[in-house]
Amino acid sequence: MNRAIADALAAAPERGVQEDVMVLNMGPSHPAMHGTVRMVLTLDGETVIKCDPEIGYLHRGFEKQCENATWSQVFPYTDRLNYCSPLLNNFGYALAVEKMLGIKATDRCNYIRTILGEMARLADHFTSLGAGALELGAMSAFLYAVEARDHIWDLVEEVTGARLTVSFARIGGLKEDLPDNFAERWEATEPRLWDVIKKLDQLSTKNRIFMDRMMNTGVIGADEAVSLGFTGPVLRSTGVAYDIRKDSPYFAYDRVDFEVPVGTNGDNFDRYLVRLEEMKQSISIIRQCLKGLPGGPLNVDDPHIMLPPKELVYNSIEGMINHFKLIFEGIQVPAGEVYSYTEAANGELGFYIVSNGTGKPYKLRVRPPCFYFMGGIDRMIEGGMLSDIIPTFDTINMIGGEVDR
């Protein structure tokens, strides 16, 4: 509750029945709440004076399940964390286990992870911007954005075999190399993405209605955002240039040249602009990586970590035993604990892992960026209008699978 508003209300003269505050239950079955969040709002007219977000409607016991799965069996679960950019979750988890094992992925693997990760980031931002525009009434912007996302998913499908539930990363490498014609396919896709980014920009950025809905709504200050644990585009919109890709580079991010866009006001419009600019940077990163894509092996050469090739499994007893041990007992990760962090599409995606030296994680904690957004969203909403909730909830891009785990 905003103290200033409460003070003003209390100071107001006698209020009639119709002027009294009311409680509105928004969600969980509300199209703007993305189906998974409930907000108990206390309203004074159309002004929100108190907001109590309630999450957990998509809780499926991610951490409990992971504690009962081998290290490799966790990958399909991570697909379903942020279901807009599953590849980034895959790679984040793989990086965490690799840190634990003390191994480094090969150069080629790092480049491919960067390329695919940036494609996932593009898809995520397209979804976020498109859906955000849709919920403000801009149907056409949404259709263009989803078309662009589909182009990316076509490419992802060509590489991984699936559009959404990819499970493409492996501990110490990847499932497969890029297909031979990937560079040409990207060449064909890239202009289409530029085209849609340009269209989105033309449709929204100078659109009077869009500007009125987005500007100066859902404002958060830099210090408050840092203290609330905000990361990613939401934090960068306040002017704090915290991007893990720059601050502690992983994969091939230290070998590519890119900018970290920041905003100034920390409002919805800045978050929109930051995402729009980040997409342009992502495309540039992909282009640089494809240009410098090194040859060499894709996966680490260690039979304790990587599965043997299928010819060896079917034709030699050693290969078969190796396969059997890795599948049934899992990769043996040395005892210890590690916190590994990557820049997912919404911010810092952290994995805190504790191993007791067996084939299953003893503890696997995900630090989802959106969980902390939901913890602080009341500060962005209270004091604003009811209708401002819609753009605010869109630009923080809350993903139910990640928040509720």
Binding site: M1, A6, D7, L9, A10, A11, D20, V21, M22, V23, V40, T42, I49, K50, D52, I55, G56, H59, G61, E63, K64, N68, K99, M100, G102, D223, E224, V226, S227, L228, G229, V240, Y242, D247, S248, G336, E337, V338, Y339, Y341, E348, G350, Y352, V354, Y362, K363, R365, R367, F371, Y372, M374, G375, G376, D404, R405
Partner: protein, 184 residues
Amino acid sequence: MSRAALDSLVAAFPQHILETTDRLGDEVAIVAPAGLLEIANWLRNSPELAFNMLSDVTAVDYLARNPRFEVVYQLYSVSKKHRLRLRVPVGAESPSLSSVTSVWLSANWAEREVWDMYGIRFEGHPDLRRVLMYEEFEGHPLRKDYPMQQSQPRMDLRRKERDAVEEYKTLYVDKLAQARKAEP
């Protein structure tokens, strides 16, 4: 860089730091529960360290160990770009720990989740409710002695939920009105 942070923490609070490690590039300090709040405040406010972001709070249940739980804090400094992890051991008997919500705002929901999943209470937390599970849920699911296949009883429809209007009135409007009347 974070090695320096760890060293200065040990130098400032030798009585509260039980152990330190720096395996795999992660600097960790194991902190006695009594010193947590003081250390948190110091880490946040010290100009050289400036740990202004609490990235994450979680707990680990070491069932066979004594003390049984360990609450884990991941700290980050946006300006200094260094990290530190605090681990605080907590006993099995009615586990509780002082809350750091007064130091970092992100502790609010993170501590709610630890309470929800592990049943560790945080003294001084403004609103310690379950966050992922529902209020009627029995037990704390991420404890190691909570069975994977445990089912929960079906609950009745709620009669009345928290009345936010009443809460709003008693908490703010009435109090403020009273305060106003009391003024000369």
